[in-house]
C-alpha cells in the first residue's frame, strides 16, 4: 500500500517534470513562429505629399500593405462632416484621406470608383465613401489609418506623430 502510493507519487512527479520540459519547448516553438527582427525593422516609408493630384486615388506601399492616398478636392473639403474632419489629414494647405487600403472586414483591397467617389470590396461587398467611412457592412469600422508623422511636406509612415496619436486616443483608428 505504502509502496504503491509512493510509486504513484513518483510517477506524477516525473510527469510534472516532463510537463515543464513540454511547456519550455512550446515557448521556444511559439517564438520560432514570431515575425523575424528583419521583418519588423523594415517598417518605415517616407512619402512626399506635394506630388499627389487632386481627387485621384494613389496607392503607396507600407509593410507590404497598400496605403491609400487621396488628396481631397475643394468640393470634398467643403462638404466634410464633423466625423470626416476628424479623419482628415492636413499637410501644408492640402487635405488628405490617408488609410491602410485593406477592408477592415477580412483584408481585401477595395477598388476605388472615381465616378462615384466610393470604394467597393470585391470579397464580401463592403463599401466605403471617399473619406474612408463604411457605407455598407460587413466591414465593422472605417479604414484604419497607419501610424504617421508629418515633417514639413513629408509624411513618415510607421512612426506615430502627434496628429496620429490624437486620432488614436479619440478612437478614430485602432
Amino acid at each position: 500500500m505504502h509502496n504503491s502510493s509512493r510509486r504513484g507519487f513518483m510517477g506524477k512527479a516525473f510527469g510534472a517534470v516532463a510537463g515543464v520540459g513540454v511547456v519550455g519547448s512550446l515557448v521556444a516553438m511559439k517564438k520560432t513562429w514570431d515575425p523575424l527582427p528583419s521583418v519588423k525593422a523594415a517598417g518605415f516609408t517616407t512619402l512626399d505629399m506635394t506630388i499627389y493630384p487632386e481627387g485621384e486615388l494613389i496607392t503607396e506601399k507600407w509593410r507590404g500593405k497598400p496605403i491609400f492616398v487621396l488628396k481631397k478636392t475643394a468640393e470634398m473639403i467643403a462638404s466634410q462632416t464633423e466625423s470626416q474632419k476628424k479623419r482628415d489629414v492636413v499637410v501644408g494647405d492640402s487635405h488628405f484621406m490617408i488609410a491602410i487600403g485593406l477592408c477592415t472586414h477580412l483584408g481585401c483591397i477595395p477598388g476605388y470608383n472615381a465616378a462615384e467617389k466610393s470604394f467597393l470590396c470585391a470579397c464580401h461587398g463592403g463599401m466605403f465613401n471617399w473619406a474612408g467611412e463604411v457605407t455598407k457592412v460587413p466591414p465593422p469600422r472605417a479604414f484604419d489609418i497607419p501610424p504617421f508623422k508629418i515633417e514639413g511636406n513629408k509624411m513618415i509612415l510607421g512612426e506615430a506623430g502627434p496628429e496620429y496619436q490624437a486620432m488614436k486616443d479619440s478612437g478614430i483608428t485602432l
Binding site: P35, V39, R63, C108, A122, C123, G125, V137, P140
Partner: protein, 404 residues
C-alpha cells in the same frame, strides 16, 4: 523469449514473428460486413484510393516545388508544368483529387447522417471522421497556398485575418500565424511544412483511428437491422454463404469496393484530363500580387457553404456563426436525441430535416460563390439563418421520435 521452431515455409516464418495469419483474419477475411449495404458503403475505399493518389502525386510534385515566394510560382507553372516529364500529370491529378476528395467526403458524411451511422456505439467513427474532415480542410487550404498565385495569396490573407477574431482585434495572433504583416516568405514556408509533413502525419494517424473505431461496432447497414455478427459469421464459415447475413471484407466486399472504385476512376480521370478548370482556378495562374485584389475572391467550392455563413453578417456575429458551423457537425451524435439507428426515410420529421439541411448547404455553396450583391445577399442570409435554425431545432425534432 518466445519459442521459435524451424519454419516450414515463408508464411510460417512470418507467422511466428508477425502473426500474419491472425492479422489477415482480423483485418480482412474475418472482418464481417453486412450484406444489406449499397454502393455508398464503398465511399471509404474510394476515399482511401483518392488519398493514395494525392500522396503519390504529391511526392512527385514535392521533388520540384520551391517554397520560396520568388520561385514558387515559376517552379509550379514552368518547371512542373513545362519542364518535368509528366509534371503536368501529377499536378492535374493532385489538384483534381484535392477537390474531388471533398465531394466524396460529403457523400460519405451525408450517407452517415442518412443511415444514422453515428448512433450509440459508433460515436467514435463519427468523431474521428469529422476530425479527418477538419484536417483535410487544413491540408487543402495549406496546399492552396503553395502555387503562390493571386488566389493563394488572397485566400491566405482573408483566412488568416479570421484569427483576429473580429472585435477582439488579435492582430498579433494574425501576424504570429503569418510570421509577417502580410502573407510573405515565412508564411509560405510554414504552410509548406504543414502541407507536406505535419498535416499528412495527422491525417494518416486519424485514418488509422477511423478504421479502428469501425472494427468493434461494425459498419451499419441500409435497413437499420441489428445483426448478430457472431452467429451469422459462424453460419458463413460453416458453408452457408448464401444464407448468412454477413460476408467477408476480403474478397467479398472488396470486390464490390473495387467495382465502385473502377467506375469512380472513369469519372476521376475524365476530370483530370478534360474538365479540370473547377479544381485549378484560372485566377491562380496569375502570380501573387499584394497590391491588387482579384475582382472576385471565393474559396474552393468545398469551403463555400461555411464561407457563406460568415459573409452576410456583421463581423462579430459572422465569426460566431462561422465558429458554430465548424463545430456543430461534431456534436451530431448528441444533438440527435433519438436512439433509432435506421434510415432517415423511416424517421418522420428527421427525414425532412435531412433533405432541408442538404438543400440548404447547396444553396449556401452557390451563394458563397456568387457576388454578394442584391438578391444573392438576401438568399445567402436566409440560408445562413436556416442552417443555424436547423441545427438548433434538431434535438427538439428528434426528442419525441417514435421507436422505429
Amino acid at each position: 523469449m518466445a519459442h521459435f521452431t524451424k519454419a516450414t515455409s515463408v508464411k510460417d516464418w512470418l507467422n511466428q514473428r508477425l502473426a500474419v495469419e491472425k492479422v489477415e483474419k482480423v483485418m480482412a477475411s474475418e472482418y464481417w460486413i453486412p450484406k444489406n449495404i449499397n454502393f455508398l458503403w464503398a465511399m471509404g475505399m474510394v476515399l482511401a484510393i483518392t488519398f493514395a493518389l494525392l500522396l503519390v502525386s504529391g511526392i512527385f510534385l514535392l521533388m520540384y516545388y520551391q517554397p520560396d515566394v520568388k520561385d514558387a510560382f515559376y517552379s509550379v507553372n514552368y518547371t512542373i508544368m513545362r519542364d518535368v516529364d509528366f509534371g503536368w500529370l501529377w499536378r492535374h491529378v493532385h489538384g483534381v483529387a484535392a477537390s474531388v476528395v471533398f465531394l466524396i467526403i460529403y457523400i460519405h458524411m451525408f450517407t452517415g447522417i442518412y443511415y444514422g451511422s453515428y448512433k450509440k456505439g459508433r460515436e467514435m467513427i463519427w468523431i474521428s471522421g469529422m476530425l479527418l474532415f477538419v484536417t483535410f480542410s487544413a491540408e487543402a487550404f495549406s496546399g492552396y497556398m503553395l502555387p503562390w498565385g493571386q488566389m493563394s495569396y488572397w485566400a491566405g490573407m482573408v483566412i488568416t485575418n479570421i484569427f483576429s477574431l473580429g472585435g477582439l482585434h488579435m492582430d498579433g495572433l494574425v501576424e504570429w500565424i503569418r510570421g509577417d504583416y502580410v502573407p510573405a516568405q515565412a508564411f509560405l514556408a510554414r504552410f509548406f511544412m504543414l502541407h507536406v509533413l505535419l498535416l499528412p502525419l495527422a491525417i494518416m494517424g486519424l485514418i488509422g483511428l477511423h478504421f479502428a473505431a469501425l472494427r468493434l461496432p461494425h459498419v451499419n447497414n441500409q435497413d437499420g437491422e441489428e445483426i448478430d455478427f457472431d452467429a451469422e459469421s459462424k453460419k458463413y464459415l460453416a458453408g452457408d454463404k448464401a444464407g448468412s447475413k454477413v460476408m467477408r471484407f476480403a474478397n467479398d466486399f472488396m470486390s464490390k469496393d473495387m467495382m465502385v472504385v473502377g467506375i469512380y476512376l472513369i469519372f476521376f480521370f475524365y476530370l483530370v484530363f478534360f474538365q479540370y478548370g473547377f479544381a485549378l482556378d484560372p485566377v491562380n495562374f496569375d502570380p501573387a500580387d499584394g497590391l491588387k485584389t482579384p475582382a472576385h475572391i471565393y474559396p474552393e467550392w468545398y469551403f463555400l457553404w461555411s464561407y457563406e455563413i460568415l459573409r452576410p453578417f456583421s463581423v462579430n456575429i459572422g465569426l460566431m456563426a462561422f465558429g458554430f458551423a465548424q463545430v456543430i457537425f461534431m456534436l451530431l451524435p448528441w444533438l440527435d436525441r433519438s436512439p433509432n439507428a435506421v434510415p432517415a426515410s423511416r424517421r418522420g420529421a428527421f427525414a425532412v430535416w435531412f433533405w432541408l439541411l442538404l438543400i440548404d448547404m447547396i444553396v449556401l455553396t452557390a451563394m458563397g460563390k456568387l457576388p454578394p450583391e442584391g438578391m444573392f445577399s438576401t438568399i445567402g442570409l436566409v440560408a445562413a439563418l436556416a442552417f443555424i435554425v436547423l441545427w438548433v431545432a434538431l434535438p427538439f425534432i428528434t426528442m419525441n421520435e417514435k421507436k422505429a
